[in-house]
C-alpha cells in the first residue's frame, strides 16, 4: 500500500528539527569535553577540536573532585531507593489487595503529597533537618528523597499489583501456604518487574536531584554528583568549561544508557501507573 522506505524518510524528516535540538547539547558536551583549554575559549569556536584531549577527563576527575561525588550519589541513591521500596511495597499491597475504611482518604493523601515538590517546602525541610541535627549529613538527603518518592512509588506499585491475578495466591492458600509464604513465594516474585521499574525511577530521581542537595549539604566533601558539577559553574569567575562538560558527560551517560536500555519497560510501566 504505502512504500515503507518513503514513509520512514517522511517520519524522520518530520522528527528531525526536534532530534537535532535534542542531540545538540550532547554534541556540545562531547565536543567541548575533548578540546584543549585554549580552543574552548577561542572565538569563533569550532565543533571539531584540533587534537583530542582525553587528559580533560583525568583533570576533571582529580581537580573537580568527581570521584567522591560519584560515590556520594551512588550511596544516597541506593539507600533512598531501598528504604523507599521497604516503606512503599506494604502500603501498595494494602491499597491493591485489601478493602479498608479510609482507603480513599489514603489515596487522596498520596495525591496531595505527590503534587508537592521539594522547592515549595525547602525552607521547612531545612528547619526540620536543622532541628534533628542532620544538616550537612547525607542521611538527611536519603530521608527527604524517600518522602518525596513515596506517593509516586505506592501509586505505581499498586497499579501493577492489581494486575497480578489473585487466583494464584488463593490457589497457594488451598495448598496450605501461610500468608507469609504466599506473599514471599507467590506474590513478590510476580511483582519483581514492577518493583524493579519503580526502583529505577526512584534511583534516577535521587541521582538527579538538585534543590535539596544544594540546601542541606554544606561541606564540599559531601556533595552529590549533581551538586558538585553545579558548584563548578556556580559563583566562579574562571570556569574550566572543558572539565565541566567532561563531568556532565560522566554524570549523564550512565543514566541515559540505563534509560535507553530499559526504555520500553519504563514506558509501559509508567503507562500502567498513569491509566489508573
Amino acid at each position: 500500500m504505502e512504500n515503507p522506505v518513503r514513509k520512514s524518510l517522511l517520519m524522520w524528516l518530520a522528527l528531525s528539527p526536534l532530534v537535532i535540538i535534542i542531540l545538540f547539547p550532547f554534541a556540545v558536551m562531547i565536543s567541548t569535553a575533548v578540546k584543549p583549554h585554549l580552543e574552548v575559549m577561542a572565538y569563533p569556536p569550532t565543533w571539531l577540536p584540533t587534537e583530542i584531549r582525553w587528559q580533560n577527563f583525568a583533570d576533571m576527575w582529580e581537580a573537580a573532585r568527581i570521584g567522591p561525588a560519584v560515590f556520594n550519589s551512588i550511596w544516597v541513591s541506593i539507600a533512598a531507593t531501598i528504604l523507599c521500596l521497604i516503606v512503599a511495597i506494604p502500603a501498595a499491597y494494602a491499597t491493591a489487595r485489601m478493602e479498608f475504611r479510609g482507603l480513599k482518604l489514603f489515596r487522596q493523601f498520596l495525591l496531595v503529597t505527590q503534587m508537592l515538590s521539594p522547592i515549595v517546602l525547602v525552607l521547612g525541610i531545612f528547619r526540620l533537618m536543622a532541628k534533628m541535627g542532620m544538616v550537612d549529613k547525607l542521611p538527611a538527603l536519603v530521608l527527604a528523597y524517600v518522602a518525596f518518592n513515596l506517593a509516586f512509588s505506592v501509586w505505581m506499585l499498586q497499579a501493577y499489583f492489581q494486575t497480578i491475578p489473585r487466583e494464584l495466591e488463593e490457589a497457594a492458600k488451598l495448598d496450605g501456604a501461610s500468608s507469609f509464604q504466599r506473599l514471599w513465594l507467590v506474590f513478590l516474585p510476580l511483582a519483581t518487574p514492577a518493583i524493579g521499574i519503580t526502583a529505577v525511577f526512584i534511583f534516577i530521581y535521587c541521582w538527579n536531584e538538585f534543590v535539596l542537595a544544594m540546601t542541606l549539604l554544606r561541606t564540599p566533601d559531601y556533595n552529590t554528583l549533581t551538586l558538585q558539577v553545579f558548584s563548578l559553574v556556580g559563583g566562579r569567575y574562571q570556569i574550566e568549561w572543558e572539565q565541566v562538560m567532561a563531568a556532565t558527560l560522566v554524570a549523564s551517560v550512565p543514566v541515559a544508557a540505563i534509560f535507553a536500555i530499559l526504555q520500553r519497560y519504563l514506558v509501559s510501566g509508567l503507562t500502567v501507573g498513569a491509566v489508573k
Binding site: P44, P45, P90, A94, I119, V120, A147, V211, T226, Q263
Partner: protein
C-alpha cells in the same frame, strides 16, 4: 466496604493489617512533608528573624509585605507565563510526536530513545550544557547560527533581558516533551484498533479519525499530562537557577527562584514562609480541581 466491616467484626487482627501496612508510609510523609508544612504555616504568621527564631503573631505582616513587594507581581506573572507557555508548548508538540512514534517505520526504536533522552539527563546538567551552548563568545549556538549565515554579531542570549526568558521557556519545553510523549504513547497503544478500522471502512479520513476518535479517546491522558506538567513546571527550579539564577535584573525570576533567594540569600524567612504557604495553596487548589474532574469522569463512564 461492607465485606471489610464484617471481617472486622469477626477478626480484629486481620482488619488492622492494612493499617499496619500503610502506617510506615503515613508516618514518613507526616514527618518529612507534613511537619515542614505545619512549621512554614506557623512561621508565616509570626515575626521571624534571619536566624529563624520566631516571636509573636504579627497580624499577617509577612503576607502583606510579600504581596506589596516590588518583585512579587512580576514573579507571579512570569510564573504564569512560564507555566502556561511551557505546558502549552509541550502538549502541542507532544501530540504529533506521539502520533509519529506510534506509526511503524524504520528506526522507530532509535527515534523513541532519542526523544526520551532529555528525560534521563538531569535538569541541572541540561541547564549547565545549555548555559554553555548559549555563551555569547564561545557558545556553539552562536557559532552554528553564524556558520549558516543567520547571525552577524554574537548575541549574549542569557544576559539579555529580551532573550533570556523565551530561551528558558524553550529549554523548559524541550525537557518536558519526553515525559508527555511517553504518556501519550501509552495512551495511543491502549486504544482499541477495531473502531479505527471500522471508521476507515466507513470512509473517515485521517483528520476525521484524529478529531473524532483519537483525541476524545486520549482525553484522560491529556488531562493527566496537563495536571502533572502544570505541577512540575510551576515548581521547576533547577533549569532557571542553573542558567540565569533569575538574572538579568530579576527578569527571569519565577516564584520558586525568588522563594529560594528570599529564604537562603536575603534571610527574609517570614516572607519566604508566607510565599511557601501561598504556593502550597495554589497547588492544593489545582490538585483538588483535578481530583474532582477525575471523579466526575469516573462517574460518567
Amino acid at each position: 466496604m461492607s465485606r471489610a466491616a464484617t471481617q472486622s467484626g469477626t477478626n480484629l487482627g486481620r482488619a488492622s493489617t492494612p493499617y499496619l501496612l500503610i502506617l510506615p508510609a503515613i508516618l514518613f510523609s507526616f514527618w518529612i512533608i507534613g511537619y515542614p508544612i505545619y512549621d512554614l504555616a506557623g512561621m508565616s504568621l509570626r515575626q521571624v528573624n534571619r536566624f529563624g527564631l520566631t516571636a509573636g503573631f504579627n497580624d499577617f505582616n509577612n503576607y502583606s509585605r510579600l504581596f506589596s513587594h516590588q518583585l512579587f507581581i512580576g514573579c507571579l506573572i512570569r510564573t504564569l507565563v512560564w507555566t502556561v507557555c511551557v505546558v502549552g508548548g509541550t502538549v502541542i508538540l507532544s501530540v504529533p510526536i506521539a502520533l509519529i512514534l506510534n506509526e511503524k517505520f524504520y528506526g522507530r526504536q532509535l527515534a523513541r530513545v532519542i526523544i526520551m533522552l532529555p528525560w534521563a539527563v538531569s535538569l541541572t546538567m541540561m541547564g549547565i550544557v545549555w548555559r554553555w551552548s548559549l555563551n555569547g563568545q564561545s557558545g556553539m549556538v552562536n557559532a552554528t547560527l553564524y556558520q549558516f549565515g543567520l547571525l552577524k554579531a554574537p548575541i549574549e542570549w542569557l544576559a539579555t533581558a529580551g532573550t533570556a526568558f523565551p530561551i528558558l521557556i524553550g529549554v523548559g519545553i524541550l525537557v518536558s516533551v519526553p515525559f508527555t510523549v511517553t504518556v501519550f504513547l501509552g495512551g495511543l497503544s491502549s486504544l482499541p484498533s477495531d473502531i479505527f478500522e471500522a471508521a476507515k471502512i466507513d470512509g473517515a479520513d485521517g483528520w476525521q479519525r484524529f478529531r473524532h476518535l483519537t483525541m476524545p479517546l486520549l482525553r484522560p491522558f491529556l488531562n493527566l499530562v496537563l495536571v502533572l506538567n502544570f505541577i512540575y513546571v510551576f515548581n521547576s527550579f533547577p533549569l532557571i537557577w542553573v542558567m540565569t539564577q533569575g538574572d538579568p535584573a530579576n527578569s527571569t525570576d519565577i516564584l520558586v527562584t525568588w522563594l529560594y533567594k528570599l529564604a537562603f540569600r536575603y534571610g527574609e524567612l517570614g516572607m519566604a514562609s508566607a510565599l511557601s504557604v501561598v504556593m502550597f495553596l495554589i497547588l492544593l487548589a489545582l490538585t483538588i480541581t483535578y481530583a474532582m474532574l477525575a471523579m466526575r469522569n469516573e462517574r460518567s463512564t
